[in-house]
Amino acid sequence: MKLRHSTPLIAMILFMAACAPDDAETVPEDTVENRHLNILYWQAASIVNPYLSGGTKDIEAASLVVEPLAHYDDNAGMVPILAAEIPTVENGGVAEDLRSITWKLKPGIVWSDGTPLTAHDVAFSGAYCLDEQAGCAALASFTDVAAVKAVDDHTVRITFDVAKPWPYGPFVGSLTPVIQREQFQDCLGARAQECTAQNFGPIGTGPFKVDDFRANDVINYSANERFREPGKPWFRTVTLKGGGDAASAARAVLETGEYDYAWNLQVEPEVLAQMVAAGKGQVLMGFGSQVERLMVNQTNDDSNLGERRSLYLDGANPHPFLSDPAVRHALSLAIDREVLVEAGYGDAGRPTCNVVPAPSRYASVANEACKTPDPAEANRILDEAGWVSGTDGVRAKDGTRLSILYQTSTNSVRQATQALVKQMWDAIGVETELRNIDGAVFFGADPASPDTFQKFFADVQMYTNNFQGTDPEVYMAGWVCDQDPGPHNQWLGTNIPRGCSAEYDDLVEQLSTTPPGDDRARIAKRLNDIIVQNHYMIPLIWRAAVSARSNSLMGVRMNPWDSELWNIADWHR
C-alpha cells in the first residue's frame, strides 16, 4: 500500500491484494498493519471516563487506558493490577472488625506521562467519585465508604461506616479505575462535566493511551511505552470503532475479516453459526451472572385503579390471580427453557432455575427440577386450585380470567422468547397479550412515564439483570419488602416483583454481616431459593457474554466479570 501507482486500477488491485483474506497465517510479520488491532463495538463509546458514564461500552473503552487496583479474572477470582496483593483478613489487609481495607501499590508504576503513581492518586479518585455534585456512575461501588485516605505514598486505606464483609467495592474492576490527580484536580464536583479534554483523553497506567477520540464514533490508541510490563502490549496501535448493529459487527469479524474483535453479539444462533462457517474467526462466550428472567407482579396493575396501580401498599393491593402461588408455579412449570435457549440463544445461553447462577460458590442446586417442563402437572395444579377452563379455553375462577399482559424491551430475541412463552402458556389455558417497549423508555427511570420496568404496569415482564463484580449481596438486598417501588421513593425501589417474605428480609440482614466463606454462600443460596421457589421471579436463561475474534488474534481470555478487554496487553497474533 505504500507504493504509488499512477492508475487507480493498479492501485485498486494492489489494495484488494492487501485487504484480501489472510490466507498467509504465517509467522507474524513486524509490520505496522500487523501490529494494529481493530476492535468493533456496535455501541460506540461516548466518553473515556467510566466515572461519568457507567455504560459498558465506555467502561471497556477506558479499560485500555486507566486501571483499577485489582481486576476480576475470568474465573471470578481477583488479580492484583496496580496493587501488590489482594488484601484479606488473613494477610492483615482487611481489619478484623471489617471496617477498613488497606491496599499497597506495586512499586515503580508510572503514568503514561512519566510521573509516578502514588496512593494520593487513589485517594483522589475516591474523592472524585464521592463528590455529590459529580453525578458519579460508580457511586454504588463506594457504598458505606467513609473515607479513602493515603497512608503513605504507596499505601491507601479505605474506611467504612459499617462492618463490610465484602470490602472489594472501590477500585476493583474496570468501573472504578485510578485516575491521575494531577490531570483531574480541577475537575471535582460540578466541574467534572466541563473537563472535556480530561474525559476524552485520561492519562493512565494501562497498556494504551488515547491518541484521537471521536465521541460516539471511533477511538485510536497507541501503545504506552511506559507500561510496567516489558515487551507489552504486543500491538502498537488499536482502533476501537463503534456503530451499527450486532449482526453486522459479527459479520465484519467472521465473514469479511475486516476486524479482529467484535463485542456483544446477540444474534440468532443459526445466523451466527452460518457466519462462523465462513472460517475466518471464532465466537467466544463467557458466562457471568446475567439471567434473563420473568418478573411476576404481586400487585394489582389494573389500569382502572389509577393511583393505586401496581403499588404494594403493605399487601393491601394484591394481584387478582398472580398472588396465587399455584398460578405462579404453573406458569413456571409450563415453560420449556431448553426451547427458548435453542431458538434465541444457542450456545450463548443455558436453561437456569436460579437468579444467581454464578459464581459457583453461590449457585444453588435446589431448583433444578424446573429445567424439565411439565405442562400436565401445571394443568393439574391449576385444576386443583380451582382455575377451570372456560368456553374460550382460558381458565377462570370467580370471574377472574387468567389473562396476562407480558411486556419486555424491544429486541428480536426477546420478542421470539415472548412468542414462545405465549404459546406454552396457551397450552395450560393462560391467555397472553404481548407488548414491547423501546429500551430507552423501559429501562429509563423517568417517573412520568408509565412504561418503565419500575412502574411495572403489566402482569409479567422480562429482562436480564446481573450484579456488579462477583458478590451478590447488594443485588439480593434489593428484593427486601420495603424496596417496593412507588411514589414514596420516586419509583426507585428495586423490589420489582413486589413480593415480600419475612424470612428473606432476616437473611439479608444476616448476609450483610457474614464474611466470605461457607456461611455466606449458604445464606446467598437460601435467598435465591426463596425468590425462585415463591416464583416472584421465574428465571429462564443464564446468558453468556458473546464476542468474536479473528483466527489470527491470540491471547484473548473472555471475561464476563470485568471488562472484556481486561488483558489486552497480552493479546497478539
Partner: protein, 337 residues
C-alpha cells in the same frame, strides 16, 4: 423581491422561536431517560444523582432559558472569537451547550461529524438527482415505452424496498461474497494521494449508491409527472407548430417549465442531507449526523437532540425560503408583492 425576502426573514424569527419551544417541550415530555441505557447494576439512587448532575432536576422554564442563552448568545460568541481570534468578555465563564452522554460541547461534536455527512449523504443526493432527472425526462417523453416501464418498475422497487434491506444486500454481495468493498466506513481516513483517494472512493461507493437509488426513485417519479403535465399543454403544441426542433421544444421549453416543481422538491430536500441518513449511516457505520441524532435520541441526550433538530429547523426554514424564491425566478407568472 428584496422586500419579500426581508419580510420572510423577519417572519422566520418568531417561527424559529416557536419551533425551538415546541421541540424542547416535546423532548421534555418524551418518556425516555438519559440513564435508561446504563446497566441495571447501577442502582436507582445513583441514577437520580446522575440526573441531578445533568441539571434535570431544574424546572422546565429554567432549562429552556438556559439552552436559549447558550444557543443564541454563548455559542455564537464562541464562534466569533474563534473566527476572528479575539476575546469578548470572559469566555471561560460562558457555559456551553454540553451533551449529556459525552459531556463535551455539542457544537464541536457536530462540526466533527460534518465532513462524512456532507461527503456521503450530500454526494448521494447529487448522484440521485443526476440519475433521476434524465430518467424522469425520458420516461415522460416516451410514455409507456419499455424504457418508461422499466424505469417505473425500478424506481418503485427502489422506493418500496427500505435501505436497511438494500444496504444489507450490497454488503453481502460486495463485501462478503466478492470482497471488493469494505463494509465499515473509516471516518478517520485522510486523502493524501491517489491510493488513499481510491480507498475513500471504495468506502463511499456502497453507502452513496444505496442512498442515491432511494433518492432517485422518488425524484424521478416527480420529474416524470411534471414533464407529462407540461407535454400536453398548449404552448408545446404552439412551439412545435412554429417549427421548432423537437430537441429545443423538449429541453428548452418543456424541461424548463417542468423543473419548477422539481427544483422546489430538490431545494426542500437539501436540509435532509444535514439530518443525515439514519439507517444507511448505521448499516455502513458512516457515523455522521444521522447516527449522532439517533444515538442521542435513544440515549435521551436532550441538549444534543435539541441543538441538532433546531439547526435542522433553521435549515428547513431557510431552504423553504430559497425554494419559494426559486419558484418566482423560474416561473415569471408568480409575483411577490
Amino acid at each position: 423581491m428584496i422586500r419579500y425576502i426581508t419580510r420572510r426573514l423577519m417572519f422566520a424569527v418568531p417561527t424559529l422561536i416557536a419551533i425551538s419551544f415546541a421541540i424542547f417541550a416535546l423532548l421534555d415530555l418524551a418518556p425516555n431517560d438519559p440513564t435508561g441505557q446504563l446497566p441495571l447494576t447501577i442502582p436507582p439512587e445513583v441514577r437520580a444523582q446522575i440526573r441531578e448532575s445533568l441539571g434535570l432536576d431544574q424546572p422546565f422554564h429554567v432549562r429552556y432559558a438556559k439552552w436559549m442563552e447558550q444557543f443564541f448568545v454563548n455559542e455564537p460568541l464562541n464562534l466569533i472569537e474563534e473566527a476572528f481570534d479575539v476575546e469578548i468578555g470572559d469566555s471561560s465563564a460562558r457555559p456551553r451547550i454540553r451533551s449529556w452522554a459525552t459531556r463535551s460541547p455539542v457544537v464541536d461534536i457536530i462540526a466533527e461529524r460534518m465532513p462524512q455527512t456532507l461527503w456521503v449523504v450530500g454526494l448521494s443526493y447529487v448522484v440521485g438527482i443526476l440519475i433521476a432527472v434524465p430518467i424522469g425526462v425520458i420516461s415522460a417523453y416516451r410514455q409507456y415505452s419499455w424504457f418508461d416501464q422499466i424505469g417505473t418498475f425500478v424506481s418503485m422497487v427502489g422506493f418500496s424496498v427500505p435501505t436497511f434491506f438494500t444496504g444489507l444486500l450490497a454488503i453481502i454481495l460486495f463485501s462478503v461474497m466478492l470482497q471488493w468493498l469494505p463494509s465499515i466506513y473509516d471516518t478517520t481516513h485522510e486523502v493524501t494521494d491517489l491510493t488513499s483517494f481510491w480507498v475513500q472512493v471504495k468506502q463511499m461507493l456502497m453507502p452513496v449508491m444505496v442512498l442515491a437509488l432511494y433518492n432517485a426513485a422518488q425524484l424521478s417519479r416527480f420529474m416524470r409527472s411534471a414533464m407529462l403535465d407540461n407535454l400536453n399543454l398548449d404552448y408545446v403544441r404552439t412551439a412545435r407548430s412554429k417549427g421548432l426542433r423537437e430537441r429545443a421544444v423538449l429541453l428548452i421549453h418543456v424541461l424548463r417549465n417542468s423543473m419548477i416543481p422539481v427544483v422546489t422538491m430538490i431545494a426542500l430536500g437539501v436540509p435532509t442531507i444535514f439530518s443525515g441518513a439514519i439507517i444507511t449511516e448505521q448499516i455502513f457505520r458512516v457515523n455522521g449526523l444521522g447516527q449522532l441524532l439517533i444515538v442521542a435520541i435513544q440515549g435521551a441526550d436532550i441538549p444534543l437532540v435539541q441543538t441538532l433538530t433546531f439547526l435542522f429547523a433553521v435549515l428547513i426554514v431557510l431552504f423553504n425560503l430559497i425554494a419559494d424564491v426559486l419558484y418566482g425566478i423560474l416561473d415569471p407568472r408568480i409575483r411577490y408583492d
